[in-house]
């Protein structure tokens, strides 16, 4: 099979600056223009295309980018990512309905709370390794959901309704029936996160994460403060999850604990691995495909998830490194080890 990742990377390396820029610009324009390209070839029968673009597609792309920092960059298996998404959404829900703060004021609070919970979970849990970390994070995700179900202050099992929409921005109105502004806001957030992740990847944190992923002990011996960078990876992932949750709550207007089940964590993880773990661009493509597929085949009302499961098994068996894997050089080096 042709290696799409390498073919793309070679083209990119040999392309002139103009070519690169025009490709990036046209890609970004295409993504922003997607809500207008509602035609039978790509649209989603059975649900509104614009709202599908926001949730699940856009939201899963953003969440996968966040989880990719944790799982892909630093190799820490996190099965409870939904917890940070839930914390962001509930912060928006509680503060939005009980105080006069608007979306823009709540967003940093939501991210801050998600980061704080990332530290609280990460400080003890990140001393564990591999699958132990996986089960502890999974437990954390479930605990957050169970607390949301049982705590009457945040609505219990009925959740929170009547969450306010963000105030108008550049004359665009945020309404439930018009998800386009939400989608554009989400794309902007995603691009910002992507840019930040790319910047970090080539600097000290990125190199530290690479070292931790490849060999924790060696990294520690070489003087990388592994624990510190692991917590940072966790906290940054949490911040992205919290921001996603906050925006999600302000679009969906009412949240219930069942929206934040383990399945979301698993789906986001599936997006990361499916797209090509560790390669942010691949992860975004993978997440877009995995989130889009079940909506595209919604006409198969009953076996829709069944097909999804089969596709997951097939793709993983055909391309175990994901659709667009990490650079081959690095893989080769880690195999030489």
């Amino acid at each position: 099979m042709i290696n799409l990742r390498d073919a793309g990377a070679t083209w990119w390396e040999n392309a002139s600056k103009l070519k690169r820029r025009s490709l990036v610009v046209s890609l970004v324009v295409f993504i922003y223009a997607l809500p207008f390209l509602n035609n039978p070839l790509i649209n989603t029968p059975g649900s509104m295309f614009e709202s599908v673009l926001f949730y699940p597609i856009g939201m899963f792309v953003l969440l996968s980018l966040g989880l990719n920092i944790v799982v892909g960059k630093s190799g820490l298996l996190d099965l409870g990512f939904v917890a940070f998404f839930a914390i962001g959404a509930y912060t928006m829900g509680v503060l939005g309905t009980r105080t006069n703060l608007n979306f823009w004021e709540i967003l940093p609070i939501a991210m801050g709370l998600a980061m704080l919970s990332g530290v609280l979970l990460g400080a003890p849990a990140l001393r564990l390794r591999g699958d132990y970390l996986a089960i502890v994070t999974l437990g954390f995700g479930e605990i957050v959901r169970i607390v949301a179900v049982n705590e009457e202050f945040i609505g219990g099992a009925r959740g929170i309704a009547g969450i306010p929409t963000p105030p108008d921005l550049f004359g665009m109105k945020f309404e439930i029936l018009n998800p386009k502004p939400y989608y554009w806001l989400l794309v902007t957030m995603t691009l910002l996160v992507y840019w930040a992740v790319r910047r970090m990847a080539v600097r000290r944190p990125g190199r530290a994460w690479d070292a931790i992923r490849q060999d924790d002990d060696v990294a520690q011996l070489m003087g990388v403060p592994t624990f510190k960078y692991k917590v940072w990876a966790f906290v940054l992932g949490a911040a992205v999850g919290g921001a996603g949750g906050c925006l999600y709550a302000s679009q969906i207007l009412s949240i219930v604990p069942d929206q934040f089940s383990l399945n979301v964590s698993i789906l986001v993880l599936a997006c990361v691995v499916f797209g090509g773990i560790g390669n942010p661009f691949g992860v975004m493509v993978g997440a877009a495909i995995l989130a889009y597929l079940p909506e595209r085949i919604r006409f198969l009302t009953q076996p829709r998830q069944l097909v999804f499961g089969i596709v997951l098994v097939l793709i993983m068996n055909l391309r175990p490194d994901g659709l667009l894997p990490r650079k081959k050089r690095e893989k080769f080096e880690s195999e030489m080890k």
Binding site: R127, D131, Y132, I146, P303, Q305, G309, L312, P320
Partner: protein, 317 residues
């Protein structure tokens, strides 16, 4: 916080906890065996268990002709029904587990794919199986017939002993004993232990890795099938999503005891069963998973390899 109830009912709760723990322990054996050999969380194991419950249901209604509204069985027919259901559930789960390995893991294992790729493949299988059963059962739970009248047979030190739970504890204990002997005494059991210590060396020593892996999955499946039958015997219902929480609990139990360690899985299973029963009396049933996870986190922080420690040398991705 109802400590009074916990103390007054302590013996009975302990008995219930052991019965629940027996089911957890049987399921967690499957996780721990596969983890020991392949260093892989078999995410589809909870679905192996779920299929076992449906196999037991099919066996009771289609093979033995027991209906929900029938009177309780007695004598020879009762024993025969129990044995047939148990065997059918075990065999079905065992075969499903082996098929899952062939479909979802074997190819990836041979190509030396990352653990995460295999994990996602397992998740895919899990989704496929759950959805297949959801469609087949119209998303409805199914009732399981009551084979015999459930009654208190004895009272030991204030503990009320119910006959079905007593049967479960005894039968599960017997199975764990047989499995433990199988792993420690037989040739293939030694092979399984050798592969969990060092895969490459054991292959060089002439161990057929594919056979070891198949037998490992078969054993895990058989135990999950037995757990499935005991589950429907006690709780008398099943649904397509029955495996989800039981699977998480059983995996927690395996980690609690020290994953990869067979006796650890048993200790972890019983410990978790007891903790959940005590915890649900103290704080209400809604919080029992929270208690279980909190204790798991505490145990892992104090003793990062679980209660009995891993049998394998390294715990890393």
């Amino acid at each position: 916080m109802d400590f009074g109830l916990l103390f007054s009912e302590f013996p009975s709760l302990t008995f219930d906890g052991i019965a629940l723990g027996a089911i957890y322990a049987l399921i967690s054996l499957g996780y721990t065996l596969v983890y020991g050999v392949l260093r892989l969380i078999n995410f589809a194991h909870s679905e192996v268990f779920m299929i076992g419950t449906f196999a037991a249901l099919m066996a009771s209604s289609n093979i033995m002709g027991v209906k929900i509204e029938d009177d309780p069985l007695s004598g020879g027919k009762l024993i025969l029904t129990i044995v047939v259901c148990l065997v059918v559930a075990m065999l079905t789960s065992g075969i499903v587990a082996v098929l899952v390995e062939i479909v979802a893991y074997r190819r990836l294992r041979k190509r030396g794919a990352t653990k995460l790729a295999t994990l996602i493949s397992a998740i895919g299988v899990s989704i496929t199986l759950v959805e297949a059963f959801r469609i087949m059962t119209d998303s409805l739970p199914r009732e399981f017939p009551r084979f015999f009248e459930k009654s208190l047979v004895a009272e030991i030190a204030g503990a009320q002993i119910r006959n079905d739970k007593l049967l479960v504890i005894f039968a599960a204990g017997l199975m764990m004993f047989v499995l433990d002997r199988f792993i420690s005494k037989t040739r293939i059991g030694k092979g399984i232990r050798a592969v969990s210590q060092d895969e490459q060396t054991s292959v060089l020593m002439g161990i057929n890795i594919n056979r070891v892996v198949t037998v490992t999955f078969l054993m895990g499946g058989l135990m999950a099938g037995a757990a499935a039958f005991f589950y429907v015997l006690v709780y008398e219902n099943t649904s397509f999503r029955v495996g989800f929480f039981l699977g998480i609990s059983a995996f927690t139990a395996a980690v609690l005891g020290g994953i990869g360690n067979i006796r650890g899985a048993l200790v972890g299973g019983f410990a978790l069963g007891l903790l959940e029963v005590y915890g649900s009396v103290l704080l209400g049933t809604a919080w029992k998973h929270v208690i279980a996870f909190t204790i798991l986190v505490l145990v892992l922080l104090l003793k990062p390899t679980g209660l009995l420690g891993e049998s394998i040398q390294q715990a890393r991705v």
